[in-house]
């Protein structure tokens, strides 16, 4: 078979890659072992959360599909961090695991030119330093100009529970064999990572009265701009529940440590520090007497409850004994124990900012295979890889977001420059432009890219353009429209905010923490200012304008700091630069630079192990 692009693996990365390439007019061979497992939520039945919610919005703004799938399968929606500022507000949903996959399949099938092929891929085929296609498990060859590898946790996947080891990428699914070997024989370096998942419980055996309920938001908001807000939420909504471990539970778990594959050395892969297993938590935070656990529903018709915070690879009987000690779970039935999975990944300094591998032209890596963890991180990469694979075939240049454009830019730049030896997930603190990279302005920041690539329609783009125009109009109105003391002081006094002595523009008044723009706009008679009626009627827009105004001064300060550091972002380094010949570099710096081959001095300066003096040396050489 012949395709423009072959996508290997139907996880979150693969889905975005395939859909993007299809929308860009190319034919896609979409290989995944089981089409009913497309987009399966391997672990947590949830999308979004701190920084991850930002990624979903950005994917949506670029024309990706994750937001739509999450909205249509969501059974609880919350906006996290409400008590903090809008830059760190983050959307999160609980999702019905089965419906998520069904909708994922429906969305993929809606795209023309995607052929889903339910076969495992066992090898990547190259011609010289270019990819030419893949070999499937039945020995058949398929050719393509580009191959996007999105194999998730499946490459030589090995699952552990106590001393029991099972080959597989995910519960009940076979591992992918052959791909790693075909790539290492081409000179790629592979590494091993691990991640874990908690036990699943039967919801009918839980005493809910002992648990603390955590409902969704009263006024739930969707991820995607495409979702019809008037008919939202689409599915019935469910609550989560909270419980805690205690020292007795810890004692039981400790009994199993001798048999834990983590501690006996059976697991060689490195796990995520920010998402430790319960046994890790007990060891590393020995003085903590309790740990919070969330009981999350797996779906509307599902009897399964996901015990978030209790990821474990201890022997099943120990897990069971410990779970039964938890408040509300004295009689619980444990349907499936937690397990850890080890898998191969390719340390991501081997890919470029476009996610194309440096070694083999036309071969792209996206998702967990690049050492990340998380659905949203995977989807973001899949989208970027799919777009770039298509752009290259179409001869239309390349797509690399900057750190100041999007979290996606931060994600990929971190991967490429710092590589990673533990599963990488996104945090807002990784983004030095955090105040600028908000959920509320994701469309203003990114939709024009999606439109350029054909992932966003003309109509949709018109809406964004209009929104942008109104936004700027609103900002300038707030800067020029002043309220006199007589008008505004009563409100200020009522709020305990100090009164003003002369008239002040809305933009200044609304910088006060206790004042909001809606209240201020109430003083404006829309009949006098017809140009802003469109704004007053759109609460989202008012929020975005208000956020912009409140953050303005800080964003400026943030920008100054970045400018001070970022002078070298545009100082390019040729890809064939000879680092090995530059003996003056530190040994570590030389090796790191040579393996990463950064595109700019800015990137070089972020590579760990590259010292400031290495950077000075580069500067000296580049300026000669």
């Amino acid at each position: 078979m012949n395709f423009d692009i072959i996508v290997v693996g139907g996880g979150h990365a693969g889905i975005e890659a395939a859909c993007a390439a299809s929308k860009m007019g190319l034919s896609v061979g979409f290989f995944s072992m089981d089409k009913y497992a497309l987009g399966r939520l391997s672990c947590n039945p949830a999308i979004g959360g701190s920084a991850k919610g930002h990624l979903v919005k950005e994917i949506d703004a670029l024309g990706g599909v994750m937001g739509e799938i999450a909205d249509r399968s969501g059974i609880q929606f919350r906006l996290l961090n409400r008590s903090k500022g809008p830059a760190v507000w983050a959307s999160r949903s609980q999702n019905d695991r089965i419906i998520y996959s069904q909708i994922a399949l429906e969305v993929v099938e809606r795209h023309p030119n995607i052929t889903i092929i339910e076969k495992g891929v066992t090898g990547i085929v190259t011609e010289g330093d270019r990819v030419s296609g893949i070999v499937a498990s039945d020995g058949s060859f398929s050719s393509a100009n580009a191959v996007v590898l999105c194999s998730g946790t499946f490459l030589n996947g090995l699952m552990h529970t106590g001393h029991t080891q099972t080959s597989g990428g995910r519960f009940g699914e076979k591992p992918a064999i052959g791909v790693t070997e075909s790539l290492t024989s081409l000179g790629f370096i592979a590494g091993r990572l691990k991640t874990g998942t908690p036990p699943r419980l039967n919801k009918n055996t839980i005493d809910w009265s002992q648990l603390l309920e955590q409902p969704g938001d009263e006024n739930p908001q969707p991820f995607s701009f495409r979702t019809d807000k008037s008919n939202f939420p689409i599915l019935p909504q469910l609550s989560c529940y909270i419980t805690y471990t205690d020292p007795d539970v810890h004692k039981i778990l400790e009994k199993g440590f001798a048999d834990s594959p983590l501690f006996t050395g059976l697991i060689k892969g490195v796990g995520p520090r920010y998402c430790p297993s319960i046994e890790d938590k007990i060891v590393r935070f020995a003085d903590k007497t309790k740990h919070q656990l969330f009981l999350e529903p797996e779906g509307l018709d599902s009897d399964l409850i996901y015990l978030n915070g209790f990821s474990s690879s201890l022997p099943a009987d120990i897990q069971f004994e410990a779970v039964r000690k938890l408040p509300g779970l004295q009689n619980v039935e444990m349907v499936r124990p937690g397990y850890a999975v080890e898998y191969d990944y390719f340390p991501p300094h081997q890919v470029d900012s476009t996610l194309e591998t440096k070694r083999i032209g036309g071969l792209y890596f996206a998702g967990q295979v690049n050492g990340t963890s998380g659905y949203e991180e995977a989807a973001a990469q899949g989208l970027v890889a799919g777009i770039n694979a298509a752009l290259k075939i179409l001869g239309r240049g390349e797509f690399a977001l900057k750190r100041s454009d999007a979290y996606i830019g931060v994600l990929i730049d971190d991967l490429v420059t710092k590589s990673t030896d533990e599963p990488y997930r996104m945090f807002t603190s990784r983004a030095e432009h955090r105040l600028l990279l908000r959920q509320d302005n994701a469309y203003t920041r990114l939709a024009h890219f999606g439109f350029d690539f054909g992932l966003i329609s003309q109509e949709e783009n018109n809406i964004f353009d209009k929104h942008k125009t109104l936004f700027y109009r609103g900002v300038s109105f707030a800067g020029s429209f002043r309220l006199p003391p007589a008008t505004i002081n009563p409100l200020l006094l009522e709020k305990g905010s100090s009164p003003v002595s002369s008239s002040e523009p809305l933009s200044k008044l609304c910088k006060r923490p206790d004042v909001n723009l809606v209240e201020l706009l109430a003083f404006v008679d829309p009949n006098d200012f017809p140009e802003i009626t469109g704004i007053i009627q759109t609460p989202d827009l008012i929020t975005q304008i208000e956020t912009h105004l409140k953050y303005e001064g800080y964003i400026k300060r943030q920008q100054e700091a970045i400018d001070k550091l970022g002078k070298y972002e545009d100082l390019k380094i040729p890809l064939d630069f000879d680092y090995l010949g530059l003996k003056a570099l530190s040994t570590e710096g030389r090796e790191k630079l040579n393996s990463v081959k950064p595109r700019s001095v800015g990137q070089a300066s972020r590579i760990s192990g590259v010292t400031p003096s290495d950077i000075s040396i580069l500067l000296v050489y580049l300026k000669r």
Binding site: S50, K84, G85, V88, F427, S613, S616
Partner: protein, 453 residues
């Protein structure tokens, strides 16, 4: 040819005739090149010599004649100042010998070093951090003992170490803020805000203490500017002459003798003072004298200390004293009563009583000068010292960012606001230890070095 792959040479001692001169060579071929012009009395080649050894022998010129008998020190990479293979040749202190040897070396493949190039190489090879590199410049230009001590202290990385420790502390505080932003869902026991505020205030305090050393650091590096001012004929020029121990400025009984500013450097107790004798201040019809008075006033503005001289027989001119106080910081003014050899009974009240004629009271004057200039702080090598303006600015910036972040807390703004300024503070501190590179910093530093030093 690449900057770091060639071998550079320069005269490392001041130009002129001294007892000896030193020529420094650095780069991969430095030993080989020296071997081509050096005949050791031991008959051995330098290439075989171990690091840190000294060899006696002759420099042979292109005609096979002996140019000079010399001592050659060999330093093997990375155990040299630059971190490269280096050689130092001590010749007899004759400029001609040095020039000839240098041209001999360039004939054999060495290149003349650019200004600051040795230090730049040391920095590039990781032998010095940025603060240390700047300190080298200070050591080289140090003119007094105390200033040398201060420069050495920076060279040894004291400041870098202290700032690095503050930076680590700050990074810790910043991560506490970040933690709360990124892990809202998790049930972490967050440090309470008051603890954090205390931590930041503590860092602000440490920065303040460091900043305070700058005045002293500047004194060490640049010396203390002292203006000698007063009415005509009070003995200003006489005092200057006494201090420099020569008849430098014209002295006469005619008021209005001095017109131009006369500048003289004197080292007293290890500190460098730059004295400025000025025209006596009065109204005058003489255009030239008026210009002199204008210059006096501008010297007052630039001075670190002002010696306000009065004639014991005339008393203190109140209106001039008031003018001085209005012009500048009254802490800078020392009221000196002169000519006490005429009227020893001190009818006039001043800070110190002297005679520029007999030298009475001059020791007291020195004590006061020192107290005013460097405070009572006895400088020890154990304290970190801020002596460069760049460091001073970066540390003050860091402090301002921290104060801003405290403002955000008291305005009850959420963590991401505070984080902006905490990060800026971290960056500012990083600048001091050179963890952030910037063309400007580097260029500025490297331009300040003289070749060969």
């Amino acid at each position: 040819m690449n900057l770091l792959e060639d071998t550079i040479a320069a005269i490392a001692t001041p130009y002129g005739v001294g007892a000896i001169s030193v020529i420094r060579i650095s780069g991969p071929a430095s030993i080989a090149i020296t071997d081509t012009v050096f005949a050791a009395s031991s008959q051995k080649k330098l290439a075989e010599a171990p690091s840190h050894t000294i060899h006696y022998g002759n420099i042979i010129d292109r005609n096979g004649d002996v140019l000079d008998d010399v001592l050659v020190s060999v330093f093997k990479a990375p155990h040299s100042f630059t971190g490269e293979e280096s050689v130092e040749i001590s010749t007899h202190g004759n400029p001609l010998i040095c020039q000839n040897l240098l041209s001999l070396l360039t004939e054999k493949g060495a290149r003349l070093a650019e200004p600051g190039e040795f230090t730049r190489r040391a920095y590039i090879n990781g032998r010095l951090d940025l603060a240390q590199a700047e300190a080298v410049a200070a050591v080289i230009s140090a003119r007094t003992d105390a200033s040398l001590k201060g420069a050495r202290n920076q060279l040894d990385g004291l400041l870098s170490r202290e700032v690095a420790a503050l930076r680590d502390k700050l990074v810790n505080s910043a991560s506490l803020v970040e933690l709360e932003l990124d892990f809202a869902e998790e049930d972490l026991e967050f440090v309470d805000k008051t603890g954090l505020t205390a931590l930041i205030s503590e860092i602000v305090n440490s920065l303040d203490n460091l900043l305070k050393t700058y005045r002293f650091g500047k004194v060490l590096r640049e010396g203390i500017n002292v203006a000698i001012v007063g009415k005509p004929n009070v003995g200003k020029s006489s005092l200057l002459n006494y201090l420099v121990k020569e008849y430098r400025a014209i002295v006469s009984e005619i008021p209005g003798t001095t017109r131009d500013i006369i500048r003289e450097e004197v080292t007293i107790d290890g500190y460098l003072y730059i004295f400025h004798d000025t025209a006596g201040i009065r109204d005058s019809a003489d255009v030239i004298e008026l210009e002199g008075v204008r210059r006096s006033r501008s010297a007052i503005a630039d001075a670190d200390l002002i010696l306000f001289l009065s004639d014991v027989t005339q008393g203190i001119d109140k209106s001039l004293f008031d003018e001085l106080i209005a012009l500048g910081d009254s802490g800078k003014i020392v009221s000196v009563i002169n000519k006490v050899d005429i009227h020893p009974q001190h009818k006039v009240t001043g800070d110190v009583y002297i005679s520029a004629k007999t030298g009475v009271g001059i020791a007291d004057l020195f004590r006061i000068l020192r107290e005013k200039a460097v405070g009572s702080s006895v400088y020890t090598e154990k304290n970190a010292l801020v002596s460069s303006l760049r460091h001073f600015n970066a540390l003050s910036e860091a402090k301002n960012h921290l104060l801003n972040s405290l403002d955000s807390v008291s305005a009850h703004l959420s963590g991401e606001f505070q984080a902006v300024d905490l990060r800026r503070a971290v960056n500012s501190l990083s600048e001091v230890i050179g963890e952030v590179t910037s063309d400007d910093i580097l260029n500025n530093i490297f331009q300040k070095f003289c070749i060969g030093k």
